[in-house]
Symmetry: C2
Subunit: 307 residues, 2 copies
């Protein structure tokens, strides 16, 4: 069992889908990553910042799950990062209606001293300079996983490429992989991105699953076909948390282990989209996780004997 | 080993992609289905019609592979069905530039007497009344598979629904499944379509793979992530031919067998898109097929032990 350091926003979200409005709820990449990783009972610590308006009950979400918050700074005078968005009826496209960076604007991440020796680091989607700062504080991580998005490619490509050169795994969606690499084919995009640094590239295709590339090896995890996607917010971060949570638990960073990790990750992400925000993750039982893993197995496993 | 009756166009195609122009080449759903099914060495017969302009060398494509053409009518005075299209740069969207129905306009399919007892029937994408006429000629098929497209939903929905009520398996792409069912979720779409007749629904998602639904069971076959898609023409028909070819070979129409069938189908379709038209299928060796099946296996198979 390894330690896991998670860097990512802890935030307020307000989401609207064709099913209704969430009101202001707990959100942020760090939150989803932490909740997903929690399912592997790893010793994880969230490095983030919130304002004085962040309620005690949300802090309790982490403490109840023994997720360390020594690195979760509370800026009493500031306000918590806020995002408001509306999804299109396909539950894929979305419009950001409001972003208030608030305390996130000048976020200086501080990794707690007892977690500087963590084996696994999950750099959630944040300014590349914040991600770099966290990396500099770590002693000797065995596995660094980075998530990012097109916004940083547009605004801070040089810094982003600097972080990418120092990591082991990048998780990125298909359009972002195309933007980062300049290649339409995801197989080619992967190769270009590998040359930037990470030996392992995970390309998330939303409802179409996720591809795992490691050097010349390739693996695919489908997304679970859903009756209904209720709210996709946080699914990518839940995926990242499931992925790193499993790897931190096993301390096995082989391709074989990573294949299992993206299955676990896809499995957890499939729950995330069933309710608003992290609601479904908060109530999720180990039995539900296992039962759905059985569905994942039956969805993909077949028996063809080849000479 | 069962017999397979294939109904589908045998045609001339002219394709343009960002990689170039094909010139006039052999095409048509029946052609691709036949070539794909051939890989299972089944006893198959193509029911179709061509004009007097259809060259001897194209007929030889079938006879060389022992694909029966007693039901391939040659209308000496007529011209062969012709389709010309141009693909968008994403190699997914396409515009039809020209369609000449020619001899296909009044096609009256005739199943050869020695194939009326075939176990498996593949009704390729054609006018629903043509598909119905073939079904009426069959004695007691064990498995009837139907492919169709949005065009017939727009033009001949009532006749299409009549055919759909008489078949065992429908293969259809995701957008068509949504149109036919009125449901966005493919899980729900499948359920609506099952209620129309077929116990088994195969939803083709192009580069995103294919879903197999049978009653309450679900299976997913990914498409092979490709370096380059050169020309997607015929990939769906190749898929249908691989699917029915495998099932006709094994005479096993169980869900377990169909899972294998869509893996074989996806595997063959992945070759089809590598060159213009059926070129790649024509030169394909059994070794290549097996080697790529190994890639499919490693792409999807994992080992998670669940209690």
């Amino acid at each position: 069992m390894g330690k896991l350091v998670i860097v990512g926003s802890v935030a307020f979200d307000e989401v609207e889908t064709l099913f209704g409005k969430s009101g202001v709820i707990l959100g942020g990449a760090g939150t989803y990553i932490g909740l997903a990783a929690h399912h592997f009972e790893v010793d994880s610590s969230i490095v983030s910042v919130v304002g004085g308006d962040f309620p005690e009950e949300y802090l309790k979400v982490f403490s109840d799950r023994k997720i360390n918050t020594d690195g979760l700074k509370i800026e009493k005078e500031g306000k918590t990062f806020f995002w408001r968005g509306k999804y299109h009826d396909d539950l894929i496209g979305r419009d950001t209606l409001e972003t208030q960076l608030n305390v996130m604007e000048n976020f200086q991440p501080q990794v707690p001293p007892t977690y500087k020796d963590a084996e696994v680091v999950m750099l959630g989607n944040l300014h590349p300079s914040v991600q770099l700062s966290v990396l500099e504080q770590m002693q000797n991580p065995k596995l660094v996983v980075l998530d990012t998005m097109n916004f940083w490619m547009d605004q801070n490509m040089n810094e982003l490429k600097e972080v990418i050169s120092q990591i082991d795994v990048i998780t990125i969606n298909d359009e972002e992989a195309r933007q980062l690499s300049g290649e339409h084919s995801l197989v080619k995009a992967n190769r270009v991105i590998q040359e930037m640094g990470p030996k392992t590239v995970v390309i998330k295709k939303g409802e179409h699953g996720a591809l795992l590339f490691q050097e010349d090896q390739m693996f695919f995890a489908p997304a679970l076909p859903m009756e209904e996607v209720f709210d996709p917010t946080g699914a990518g971060d839940t995926f990242a948390g499931g992925f790193t949570g499993y790897l931190a638990k096993t301390n096995d960073y082989s391709f074989k282990s990573m294949k299992k990790a993206i299955i676990y990750a896809s499995n957890l992400a499939s729950f995330c989209v069933e309710k608003f925000g992290p609601e479904r993750l908060l109530e999720l039982s180990p039995e539900e996780v296992t039962n759905r893993l059985k569905i994942f197995k039956s969805l993909t496993q077949f028996n063809i004997d080849l000479a």
